[in-house]
Symmetry: D2
Subunit: 391 residues, 4 copies
């Protein structure tokens, strides 16, 4: 075992940290941060900064202009990018694009890559991933998928309703999951690629939500007679759930990486405040009640970091990492939330205002305990694995 980062990676981490500190954090007071995330102008400016710094696309292969980092490399770099919630957007490694790029790299045809992946990796476009459906459709339980794609000649006609579709507003294209019906036969779930805007793809609502850091916010999408040519099927028909798995574990882990960076930020802000602010005769940090919270933060952050890096390393070894990524998803989301919650508490009245990033981090991390599988679903999947004969 060796817990040391190799020097190249350590140097890259340092560069990203400095970039975020020097170029991105000053942008946090930009008024173009809206309740539905940074607007397109701000996003373009942020991407420009990262491009200038040579820090775009840590997770993309060099062929497509990325750094070609291993999972472990991403663990280090994406955490550093997440130290500002604008960092991953700048570096083009935010959700859902980051997962979509990974999916396209693995599954798409060359023509599809040229058409959809290339402009994304150049930071010119955004995308969305249309899987989640409102009740009684596919939520935590994907088996409930209701959207259908019915074959008509050389095209599919897609009908259904999606919601909580992050980034749909302003996306250049969508990846859409639908139950595929060909000649009356259900061939299972398929993924489709679709340029936007498109006839039959309508954003009926921009959802007000607790979090506010995803570019484009979250939308309700109505799919009504949306026509998609069969050439725009992503990979093969009926393989949608399999591809979802391809996207799932790494995307889950990159969430952990970014949020770890954000939680570290909240902790650092609270620590600085506790070292400056005085009450009841001494600095806040001199009060055990505050000091213990900061100590628990340190512990939570330290162990989350170890767990995230371990799981990334596992994936680098070719493991599927389903169990480990479930464990770290639960731990990271719960621990990072605790960190953010303690940071709010330490800041006191300041903590519930937008005068520091902590308030925003707190709200955004709350959602992280739910998306990509609520803690409860992951606990259950860990338990089921344990329950198998021979486990």
């Amino acid at each position: 075992m060796d817990f040391a980062l190799n020097p190249e990676l350590a140097a890259l981490e340092k560069r990203v940290r400095e970039f975020v500190a020097d170029r991105i954090i000053p942008m946090e007071s930009d008024p173009r941060r809206t309740a539905h995330g940074p607007d397109e102008g701000l996003r373009a400016d942020l991407v420009g900064l990262a491009r200038e710094a040579g820090l775009l696309n840590p997770q993309v292969s060099p062929e497509f202009g990325g750094m070609g980092l291993s999972h472990l490399g991403k663990a280090v770099v994406l955490e550093a990018s997440g130290y500002s919630m604008l960092g991953p957007i700048a570096m083009n490694c935010a959700a859902p694009d980051e997962g979509n790029m990974h999916l396209l790299e693995v599954v798409a045809s060359d023509a599809q890559k040229a058409r959809w992946l290339r402009p994304m990796t150049e930071g010119r476009t955004r995308s969305c991933f249309c899987m989640t459906e409102p009740h009684p459709g596919a939520g935590s339980d994907p088996a409930l998928l209701k959207t259908t794609a019915v074959k008509r000649g050389d095209r599919f006609v897609v009908t259904g309703r999606k919601w909580l579709i992050t980034g749909a507003d302003g996306a250049a294209f969508a990846i859409i999951m639908a139950r595929t019906l060909v000649d009356g036969e259900d061939l299972g779930a398929t993924m489709f690629l679709c340029d936007l805007p498109a006839k039959g793809f309508r954003i009926s609502e921009s959802i007000d939500s607790m979090d506010s850091s995803f570019a484009g916010g979250h939308a309700v999408v109505e799919l009504e007679g949306l026509e998609i040519p069969e050439t725009d099927v992503l990979g093969e028909i009926g393989q949608g759930f399999r591809y979802a798995q391809v996207r799932l574990v790494p995307a889950r882990l990159t969430h952990c990486m970014r949020w770890l960076g954000a939680a570290q930020r909240a902790h650092d802000i609270a620590t600085r405040y506790a070292k400056e602010r005085e009450a009841f005769g001494q600095k806040l940090i001199g009060h055990e009640g505050v000091g213990f919270m900061l100590a628990d933060n340190e512990i939570d952050l330290h162990l989350t970091r170890l767990g995230v890096r371990h799981c990334a390393w596992l994936l680098d070894q070719g493991a599927r990492g389903s169990a480990e990524s479930s464990m770290i998803k639960v731990h990271a989301s719960e621990a990072c939330f605790r960190v953010a919650d303690r940071a709010v508490q330490i800041l006191g009245g300041m903590g519930v205002t937008r005068k520091t990033e902590v308030e925003r981090i707190f709200r955004d991390i709350r959602a992280f305990r739910i998306y990509d599988g609520p803690s409860e679903v992951h606990r259950w999947s860990i338990a089921r694995r344990l329950g198998k004969p021979g486990a």
Copy 2:
């Protein structure tokens, strides 16, 4: 001991519940709810509804048009009003007005009551309470009070900065706490009454904050050469901290009452959802993972209710209730937050959107763990009491 409500109070509770369900909850989708609370138009409409229903001012004495409820009566009625976060605003028993009315009833002169209390109890005006100051002034530790009121002839000239002043924007008057200097001598803290707008009282910022249910939001107030005639001193000079105590314990307790109602609401929404929504082969509530959370909610709500009513009863017996109100402030804020947090989690993706009131309740209750004394300050005050010789 007798845990039964008397029939009049039970009947009143029922009326309030029905009023909130029938008249107030439908108003929750009103677009005039802003990030800084309901606007004045909405507030006026809400107050109108309560006036029509004969449900204004549960906490005010009959002399001033209120119901003259005991603390226990308030515990029952304010909880019921809090079932919608708009309920207390409608019934004119929301913070900070509710506490200010109580303070004025106890301390103000008849002339002051006629001038400031009467219009408030008629629902025509709002007020604010200017105590909290930014670092390095008075926060959790009021001894750090920095604002000064210097005697000049028959008036005081007030200088300082206040922040997190709830309801300042739109208030008809302010109660201002300042360190009083007369002929160079520090006479301690005094409370002043001041009509708004006033020269020398400037709202320099409307603070963006996690919560969004207080009318008027939270402001930063600059006090620069604000002149207040000596007739507008509230009570006596140098008695500010003593009057703050008069306001403190009951106001702390009414917060618990209202938030208990809001937490109950979040729980009821989550329960209803869990009984309808299906995943992994059965209704959510059929999953132990969800059912246990709901059971813990029931326990938290039940015990909070007992604790709040017990403390209210104590005050009715003439007790100061400092220890008990600290205990119940900690318990209620932490327990109600847990309830709201579990409700968010049960709702899943829905829980982080504004599609139900739960998202708002969650954000607002987070702040409740901080204002009126963070849990840590109350724990400390409980411990100090225990530590006294003979305790």
Copy 3:
């Protein structure tokens, strides 16, 4: 609502507290406290002290020499008795006898009462309740009951294995639950009374366990051809589960009462220690880390007390109290355990030794989270109730 104790009850509480402080606590260093509870000699001495003080049988009707207390009265008196773990044994209101006496008072015939109840209420005998079975028999799920009672002429022949039978060793009689077979037909569960020792009733093991305060400890009982005349059926054939319910809710609640007293004791010991012991420059209680734990103890104890008394009052009004007793069983066992755990922690090295009662209280309370329904089973029953249509 009225939270005041009536003066008679308050006076009785005071008497019990003084009795426990003056007469029982000094007995705690008696070497006759074994790993399987106080031995018979110690028990007799303790009962003698309570008899002398006129404090036997708070829960028994005056007809049988008891105080005839209401449930609320018991809540007050049993808590006070539990301040020493020897107190309930002295006052003849410890488990399982207390529940068995209640059951006999409600269900037994006059002849049975004379034969079995009377000597118990005189403090001369102990009893046991034989329901729980080892895997795969009846544990948390009573429906798994395996022990059978087969009718042979005018007697029943009982066969089965029971375990965790508290107080079996030294008991004068047993109440035995068995599935009843008459002429090959299963008539459901029946309760039988059986003098001990008896042929066919064999204690095969005295179980080593974490707790050590129940007189007689916990035994494994082998029932092999045990013959019971049909006159010794308790109540009616086939009504066993119904009678179990008669015993269940009140017995569950008296556990909460006694353990609340014990937790209060642990807290008081820790508080006293924290006020005397110095470390890092001040008394322990002056450290927020310790003070916050003591404050949380105060809150846990206060709310548990309110919850227990409320539930007792409910039973006094004739309510079944199933939901409330489940809620308070979960809360009381979890909260009292937290209190004991914090007390251990505050005592430091001392806390894990038997130099104070805290170590014993901690171990004994751990078991309380499991018996009379583990917290999980109660949570589930609360959730199921919520899940019913119309709930």
Copy 4:
């Protein structure tokens, strides 16, 4: 970074696991396990088994017959040994001997090593470490050290009282910490070596305690006129606290290693039980309430393992590891306790009996949250470090 164990270490881990499973676990039912730990006969038998298997002294240098493992090597092997609470005793790597051997290797003279270390590494003797004192002496705060060693000619006369001295009963020698007075001058704390039994070293009490797995239990030791020749000073006069540091961090970490193994054992027992035992219509593990607890155990164990190994690796790099070892001490003790607590709960009635090792592990791990620094002291030390300027 590389999370793979090297093949030699992985093979050694496997050997230790098999040894513990095949040879040590069967010894757990040996009646020579007393409330004060395994007796000397049992200890000798256990050591014999490890000697036979070539598995003695993983932590000792080859020069003294050990495996000469790195800290990381120890992390792997001591965890595996701890899978039975008898394992570390068998392999001669239990507390306090393991820490004492380390201390002697680093600090003792060759003559001292020959006299005291050699027989220990041969498994023939045990030792004890006499530092902790009862109130008002040195506990969590070592600065309160009260025991004195007064120079008289060529010897020191030691006077004081020590308590919670693990293994004193039956130890062949003691390491004693005392404040050193030479010619009336206080030269600071010194460590002394002392063969046992010795005149002036009296065990006045064998302390009854919650835990029961340390050989020799815990004693109160009276030091009354104990004479120690100056040649038996360990290292240099006045360097006692410095040497305590030498012992401290590694010993703290080996505790984490062993307890991690024990917690894993408790979890495995609970998992097996949950897969066999049925209630309410299915296997326990099929209930989410149980499955979630097992999932949380998996997470706690996984992250503790990563944290322990990371800290061990840090020490191998030459770091002092004070902060990291404090973090992992808090996390490991709290997490392992949670694991044991959940295992008890899952086992239900069985969990509080000595029918599985879980009951014992639960009791023993409770103490681990206190010794080698209570969680609170470590949190404080982490906070203090954070609070330093520049940190």
